[in-house]
């Protein structure tokens, strides 16, 4: 049995559950489960271990088929920070002093009600006189309560002021940032970086000290230290989109983004072997831009990303009706995640029809062109559909501006932070999925995601898509020029008018593509790892 390694080195605080890579890793490992001739070793920093185990358990990955390699013991300062964050999160019950106030108020209510009831119902003077002490007691109680309240305010004022002054001071502010979000503090960021470097060193010591693994795989180009592994290594380069859109990305992410880019550059420069998701990225990015030798780069296309299992109902008297009902329920939840929309709540419980584009907002995603095309369709062609996106408008302010300037807040909804099921429900309920992206690492998942839940798609004509969608007739019907908003609008309008026919044709192609499972992807990766390990031995 051969052992291959998977190298992961995310910094603390990154939850793989919400990263695309996390989902890919899960699919990859599930695809590998049936292979009895190989075994994967996951190498990761100490802080990733628990999160990985939780991800695998939730996703049904059989951890008995995996080995783990990670340094012992999470760094102490990180443990302290995580403990503090957990404490702040879990603090629910009000402070004791508020509990005391509540008791006093309750006592006041009970005493007042009892006394007043007794007084107003006494119908003879003797009884009334006997109640006077009770009245006095009530008056005293209320008096003490009032005095107590005033005293508390006074004390708060006197003692609190210096406390508030201190709280407003820069030192306290600094401490607060330090404890709550240390990476936002520049000195601490440096410490974090050093901690990461130290952890990676520990990890690599373990890796290089183990002879069991014949080749290593890293699913991203973000970690140039992967190249320090002495055994044959295969680095996945999905894309280097900053290189393709230098001006578009220049205002995004500041220095941290530039630093990350430099690391990718270093990673590629020092890499041994590479794998990409498309021939386009191999030739245009790695070979042309980064001057990597073509023989060092393999291409493994994605498997199909299906969403049907997340929402399709089976075993009900009418599965379609049941699936509809579930998806409408999920969609209600999704609508509540609308960003910057004063209107989204009106659509909960309604029957809106919409076009759907699931993607983060990035300069390469071509959102502005899509908005131009959509506005034309809405206001000149009167299509009536809404456009639902999943990015956060604040990431690219120009998107927010366009939506506001063109008064599209009601019709363009940005539903951000959707769960996988909510995403699946949106795809299912959409009349059409669209992907206008100018650049991707491989054929966008939009195609298989949408068609897995019976929604047709129109997409930008880009090389990575044309590598997979090769039939010229289907290309003509479903692909548009991403630089031409009119062409995009025409294609969308045509697709809406011919939805069923387009869906029927695309389903045939989808059925073929979905034969390519993650098992196939894993097998091809293993073949490459095997080949590079043998080259090294030779």
């Amino acid at each position: 049995m051969k052992k291959y390694g998977i190298y992961l080195a995310y910094p603390p605080g990154v939850r793989l559950h919400s990263e695309g890579l996390g989902r890919l890793l899960v699919e990859f490992l599930k695809g590998a489960e049936k292979r009895t001739d190989i075994r994967f070793v996951i190498a990761c920093p100490s802080w990733m271990r628990d999160d990985l185990m939780s991800l695998f358990k939730e996703s049904g990955v059989n951890v008995n088929h995996l080995d783990f390699l990670s340094p012992k013991g999470v760094p102490v300062i990180l443990r302290m920070n995580l403990a503090f964050q957990a404490y702040v999160r879990n603090k629910k019950s009000p402070p004791r002093k508020y509990k005391l106030f509540n008791v006093i108020h309750k006592l006041d209510d009970i005493l007042s009600n009892y006394t007043v009831n007794k007084v107003v119902s006494s119908n003879n003077y003797l009884m009334f006189i006997l109640l006077i002490p009770l009245l006095v007691l009530l008056a005293l109680f209320k008096g003490f309560k009032k005095i107590g309240s005033k005293l508390t305010s006074l004390i708060r004022g006197i003692v609190g002021m210096p406390f508030r002054t201190v709280c407003r001071s820069k030192i306290v502010a600094w401490f607060t940032v330090l404890l709550k979000n240390p990476k936002d503090e520049s000195i601490v960021l440096q410490w974090y970086k050093k901690m990461e470097v130290s952890e990676v060193r520990r990890l690599q010591y373990k890796i290089n000290g183990s002879n069991a693994v014949v080749a290593w795989y890293c699913p991203t180009a973000f970690w140039p230290h992967f190249n320090k592994i002495t055994v044959p290594s295969l680095m996945c380069v999905p894309d280097v989109v900053l290189a393709d859109f230098p001006i578009g990305f220049s205002p995004v992410g500041g220095q941290r983004c530039l630093d990350a880019f430099r690391e990718v550059e270093q990673g590629i420069e020092g890499g041994q072997y590479f794998v990409t998701y498309s021939r386009d990225v191999k030739w245009r990015t790695l070979v042309d831009r980064f001057h990597v030798r073509p023989g060092k780069v393999s291409v493994v296309h994605h498997g199909a990303n299906k969403l049907d299992e997340l929402i399709f109902v089976k075993g009900s008297p009418d599965n379609n009706v049941a699936t509809d009902a579930i998806c409408k329920g999920l969609f209600k939840g999704a609508l509540l995640k609308a960003v910057d929309s004063p209107y989204a709540h009106f659509f909960v419980g309604s029957d809106i029809k919409f076009i759907f584009y699931a993607s983060q907002f990035r300069p390469n995603k071509n959102i502005i062109t899509l908005l131009k095309a959509y506005e034309y369709l809405l206001r000149k062609q009167y299509i009536g559909y809404k456009l639902i996106l999943t990015g956060h408008p604040s990431v690219l302010p120009e998107i927010k501006c366009v939506i506001a300037e063109h008064r599209l807040e009601n019709d363009v909804l940005c539903l951000h932070g959707l769960s996988e099921k909510e995403l699946a429900a949106c795809y299912y309920l959409a009349d059409l999925a669209v992907n206008p992206s100018l650049s991707e690492g491989g054929c966008p998942f939009t195609f298989t995601e949408a068609l897995s839940v019976d929604t047709p798609v129109v997409m930008a004509r880009i090389p990575v898509t044309e590598e997979i969608i090769t039939d010229s007739e289907i290309q003509h019907e479903m692909l548009f020029d991403p630089y031409d908003w009119r062409n995009m609008a025409d294609r969308i309008e045509w697709a809406l008018d011919n939805r069923d026919a387009l869906l029927a044709k695309q389903k045939i192609l989808y059925d073929k593509l979905s034969l390519r499972t993650w098992r196939n992807v894993v097998d091809e990766h293993i073949n490459i790892l095997d080949r590079i390990s043998r080259i090294n031995n030779e």
Binding site: I311, E409, N410
Partner: protein
Amino acid sequence: MTKKVHRVLWLLNHTTLRKFEVEQFKLIGINEFFCPKSFPYDEGNLSASVDASLDSTLSIPLDELSILNQQNWYDSPSDDAWRIANQYFDIAIIGFFPQQIAATAKNFDGAIVLRVFGLAKGFSYTQILMDELGPYFIEKLSRLGERFWFGAGYEHLKDEEDGLLKQRNCFLPVGLKGEPEPSLWSGADKRIFFVCPGIETSPYSKSIYEKFTKDFSSFDFQIGGVQPVHVKAPNILGFVDEGTHERNMREMRVMYYDSSEPHYIHYHPFEAIRVGMPLVFMAGGLLDRCGGVGLPGRCKTIKEAQKKIKRILNDDLKLIEQIRTSQMTLLAPMDVKKCETPWRKSINRILGELKIAKTTQNYKPNKVRIAVIVPLAFRGGSLRGAKLMAQAIDAGSQQAGEDVEVIFAHLSDEECYPEEEFFDLPVSIQRRSYQWRTIEKEEAIRAMAYAGINQPNVIEKQYIVPDDGVKQFMDCDLWVIISDRLDVPLLPIKPYVCMVYDYLQRYTLALPHYTNVQYIATAHKAERVFVTTQFTQQDAIQYAGLPSKKVCKLPMLAPEISNLETTPMTSVSARSIYFLWTTNLALHKNHKNAFKALQIYYEGLDGKIQCRISGVGTKGMLKSDFPHLMPIKKIVANSKPLKKNMKVVGELSNSDYKKQLQNCAFLWHAGEVDNGTFSVIEAAYCGVPALSSDYPAMREIDTQFGLNLSWMDSSNPKLMAVQLKMMEQELVLVRERVPSLKKLKEQSIDKLALNYWQAVKGCL
């Protein structure tokens, strides 16, 4: 004398409940039941099934039974089905499905028992009904009087309700059919049996599942319950057949029941007890009320539950026997025989009060009164539309033989609404003027309370009500508000319908968000929204987010120009002196393109027909400061031919307008997208053709009235000018296409009125 046969419409599909309740009815002597043959997907229907065998109990004609079987009893069965239901059935047992409740309350004449089994803590059925069906629904239920019952499955459920539901409480205890058989249990499978259906379809179930797997991660367990969507986790049984389920019940070592909901309980813990499986359950839930306090299976903390379960799984026979023996007391309240007495008492009460209700003469209700309220100072076409609406409701109710009074309400502004403006209103329609009165929140709360609307949703700082100086239209049963353009929320003190003509703000009109949100909210709070074009219907659903069931498309009404003599067509040349452009100053009237088109027509295409401009505000068009009108001043100033050939006649009286219209060559409608204009219909009545901007609402008008309009692209002045020239050159041909009076009269108010009345009646 033969005893009356009572029949029950049992409009639920819960398998276990059905077995028990049918048994109860039989014990009381009611033996005929109808159950639905389909049910919707719903979290509450995961334990549902169809049982057609009960059809054999019914002594009603088979063809009528067949009609009942075809219906969706959870939504809106047909009128025929209700006729049959009313003819043969006395009692309808319904579940807490809002649409089912609304349909049954509206259509069923017998006793209606709303069967309830408890909600999560903090929720009430009253509030949910108001949220789902509107704040006036409780009032509708109260009008059912002694026919409506709150059929509580547990005695204490009424304590969570207020008002009507509490008053109409009728205790029908939940039970479980079948004798206990604890000897069946073997417990050979040393695992916990935890029932949690719908893990991937219900966030609530998911959280229960996650908590259970976290608390019992070191134990072996099986999760039972239907899973409509596949769960990617081990130990999930999913749907199993009855045989497998019974085997699991016999063989699993222990059941854990986690719920500490005080008002709701599932069936499965009782099913477990019945076959003798030890039940370990958390304190604080409904089992405590059933006698669970003090039982050895009861646990106050998770740690205690973990300890007990561990002991059970490790063969602590003493504990197992203690639990099995003692837990049988929990079945006592569920026993069929024990439930018989309260059931008999309640059903007899239901039937007794139904008999009284049917034989009592009802106090004759007042005449139905509908107020058609014009909320703004509408003039011109908008006012005409409002009056037509009132006429249609009035005429339609008369055609239906209903005793209805229609009030036409307008703002008391004598300048805007002189007397002569209403000479065309039929005498049967009363007219009332009013002013909008603003009331603050506290006053609003009191007004709602006085009006008997329980638990009012008074959340805004201010509201408006129409104040007629008499009773603020509280004498009316329904308000029909012509338009949704209310800047302040309307006090929700009367049910109202909104007539929405368009959502121009989706296309051309810029509105501040706060205002737009307010307009959309007005429509959402209405009982129904009426529209007159499919285009606006689509916008109402897509843009305003109104549920499609709420939006009612009615045929467009148009005024009939009937008091004009149908003078014979004069010669074309005599009528060719001018065409009439009816417009106003609104943004969407496309003035800039229209004037550019006129300039091209006169300068470039040698246009020969003069343009006369009429409409509200048009006299001041060239002097207006509106930003969208500024360009036209320049266009006119720079074009002598245009200046020479255009004449602004301004806002005309009805009679003057009709004269202008009758003598013009054609009517020109140059506006951008809106809900359409019936000026083209009025033109057709005069035998005058029209050239119109091409947009969906105008196409609909063209189709409905058969107008054979000529079309132009209003975004392109050149093409507009070309079409003007075409009209000039082909006038005779175009005139021939104008429909006849006979054809137009097929769309008269009298022909369409019944549609309006039926739409309004559905809201009463």
